[in-house]
Symmetry: C2
Subunit: 226 residues, 2 copies
């Protein structure tokens, strides 16, 4: 499948690698590809520059947001939440229309220091804002409740016995996302229903941050025991 | 131990029964004991009137909020979140001072219909509001992330292999709450730290409501797989 991933950060890189390995044709989108490739220093987390990553993953394309979105039959928003709407505007409504848009972003607000709060929550969500601004896109919220390495390798944590949530208005689009999740190794996929249920999934982030602090590791995930 | 429980609803009844059975001396508090006992009809969920419940649990006392709070060495807020601060004011600051106050309430706002939103979240929490208004109480948030029957019988769900969170400023108070949780059968008790981490625990409620809808049952709980 042709997949366009918006965002060159850790989530974009991790998903691109896994989906490329899985046989998909992946193009990663960024605001300014030349600027992204010009960076040579490690980022603030000590991760190598995108250029270094790309040299190790030569089959993954890099383009502008609009090029990645035009390439993909299936799109993934892996930008940071504060930049997501701008990135999608740059991708272009015409390149989103009719396509599944898997939204993995969280509306984290770091402007008030740590721990982050959310810049939208409770009566609205980032996923709903995206769906409202791009009614032609088939927005499905998922994978936003765990760290990138767990997203693509659920079996690597607790033998894979934990849960991923899915929220979106279009049942067929939720089905496409579930299929991709199964490809990644997910077995406990909990369909919450329409996109308004993304509020709850995004509001998991504050406790996730506290749990990361308590455990000293981002490698945990929720299992819904029932 | 002498335990005062504020609230005669399903959470108060369920905790009172379990702690009474566990050998504690329990008094349940309500705004107006005579009014509570005057009710004979089942409530909106079809649960029997408190009077019927009390006849089956003759060792559990009933009193005004202030009487239950004066009785308890250890206090539990089991009122609904919207009524919690008023109930605690009625209990009286002098009856809270120096005591552990286990806060199980959630700031659910049903005024805008279903599903409920939260009337405080993100940059504040009900637990923090309680702690701020009653600085002498040793507030510990816990047990607010699952249904009452699971609170007191974790082993009855998934062999007990799921998680309860604890948040509060006073480490010794958190320790007292953990001890009570172990008495109830909890084995996976995750200490998140100070009371501000109750934000995350309370913000779990929206996804909990969605999960209840998706599963058709309130009997689920989070396990933090790590």
């Amino acid at each position: 499948m042709r997949i366009g991933i918006l965002g060159t950060g850790i989530v974009g890189q991790t998903l691109a690698e896994a989906l490329d390995t899985g046989g998909h044709e992946v193009v990663v989108g960024t605001r300014d590809p030349a600027a992204t490739l010009a960076k040579t220093e490690p980022d603030m987390y000590g991760r190598p520059a995108f250029r270094v990553w790309q040299e190790a993953h030569p089959d993954v394309g890099l383009g502008a947001f609009s090029e990645a979105a035009a390439h993909g039959e299936f799109l993934i928003n892996a930008t940071n939440g504060a930049a997501s709407l701008d990135a999608l505007r740059a991708a272009g409504e015409e390149n989103l229309a009719g396509k599944v848009l898997l939204d993995t972003a969280n509306p984290l607000d770091f402007s008030k220091g740590m721990p982050p709060s959310l810049f939208v929550c409770n009566t609205d969500s980032l996923a709903e804002r995206i769906q409202a601004e791009f009614p032609g896109a088939r927005v499905v919220k998922s994978l936003n409740t765990m760290t990138a390495s767990v997203m693509v390798d659920p079996r690597g944590l607790g033998d894979g016995d934990h849960t991923v949530f899915v929220s979106g208005n279009d049942a067929e689009a939720r089905g496409s996302v579930k299929e991709l999740l199964r490809e990644l190794g997910w077995t406990d996929i909990l369909d919450l229903g329409d996109v308004s249920t993304a509020r709850g999934a995004e509001m998991v982030l504050p406790i996730w941050v506290s749990i990361m602090g308590a455990l000293g590791s981002p490698r945990s995930n929720i299992k819904i025991v029932r």
